[in-house]
């Protein structure tokens, strides 16, 4: 196996790992975002809502 193929394979392996890690973070981050509290005032009432409501 040539040196260049090994480098490329390692790069792909690492890239996949980083990609999966970032995807998980993104999912969690988005989920948290959805559950963030959003307060909206309407007719003297303060509504406790989710950000994505």
């Amino acid at each position: 196996m040539t040196k260049s193929i090994l480098i490329r394979r390692n790069f792909l392996k690492n890239f996949t790992k980083i990609f999966i890690f970032l995807s998980i973070i993104n999912i969690l981050f988005n989920k948290n975002n959805k559950n963030n509290l959003k307060l909206i005032k309407n007719k003297k009432l303060i509504w406790y809502l989710n950000e994505n409501d």
């Binding site: 909206i40 309407n42 509504w47 406790y48 809502l49």
Partner: protein
Amino acid sequence: MIYKRFQDINFNKSPIIIFGSGPAGLSLALDLEKKKINSIVIEAGGEDFDENSQKIYKSKFTAVELTDASVSRLRQLGGTSGHWGGWSKPFEDHDFDKWPININDLNPYKEETCQILNIKNQFRRSNINSFFNQIEFQYSEVRFAEKYKDHIQKSKYIDLLLDTQLLYLSGKNKNIEYAVCINNDKKISLSSKFFILACGGIENSRILLWTKEKSQEILNNNKNIGNYWMTHSWILAGSGLLSVNKLKNKLNDYFLNYEGPIHFSTKKNFSDIKNITSAGLYMDAQEDKKFYKEAIKDLLCVAPELGKKFARMLFNKDLKCGNIFMHIEDSPNKNNKITLDIKELDKFDMPITNINYERPISVIKTAKNVMSEFAEFCRKDSIGRIAMHEDIFNLKKLDYLGEYHHMGGTRMGENLNNSVVDKNLKVHDINNLFVAGSSVFPTCGFTNPTFTIIQLSIRLSNHMKNTLQL
């Protein structure tokens, strides 16, 4: 028997005179009857209330104007049970933390209290999270006058005298010797072995304060009469839309599935952490289509997609929605007190009461914390959405709906420094005078008081039978 003239009663056959025929006084007389002990019940009003009679109940408020005391209570046979809402449940365990008795001292009288109130002995609770429980009230429709008038009329053990105002008590050497009353415009003195005051959450203090003025030889050391007066704050806190199925799923088999309003209460843990008093939340989830439509319309304005979702839930009959009301516990304060206004006398030449009551600052803080935490619970667990009144959110003001629960003034405790009666409801320093009713509450929780008032009266009856050897 029921009488209108004192001359018709044989006072010698009864060792006990009870003043007041409301839930406290009649429950006591009824339990004494079960023990075959005679009692005489003296009622200031007649069989029914009238405008002139109600005037005697006039009170002045010197700090905050509360619900007119000549409207919030009734001077008649059966007392204020003549127009009460009937909400019934025992106090929470932790409500007794500052009482000289605990919940186990009252639990034996739960069943009998339920029989008196014609309600089921069922007060379930479900653990929602570390801050809230779902709780259950029973609703009594008992009016004491309607339920017990015929019974008393035929009773061999209860004699009831109507239209007789107690003015004050007189005695010496730590004993009450006689009670001075007015019957048919005639001043009379009634003697007995034991005297029980069960005249209500304001009148009990008033009678004792006037007794202190009139009889120099008794109650001199009792400095706390009238002090630590309390009332529940009953407020409109906001509104909410809840998914019944999601709440049911969260609570599994513990969901309290009953029609109409849903009740929640704060746990002790919550009050401790936030440094607030306890509160009960009441969601008036009546099946009023108009209200449901308005609530969904409001939600559509602030969250259109969510509004559509809730509209579908309404269509699928999975929605409980309504105003959220709260009963908030009061904090005992020595300066919140009943005094006598010697400048204004009633038709019996008795001073009317001055109630100096300032709302505790903690009430609005409690309202905001409880609503906010409840809204967060509903939102995070996807059970529904809650809206809080802007003025509560900004800690500006509360929308008070009336003060009907009068408590404290003759509070229960260990000694004269902080109380008026002992744990057996006997007035400190007097051997034969007892007080029944919510005026003996040292703290008041958020729960409506009548259930506990009756439990205390039955306990007093037992005490009289067992300890005083009647």
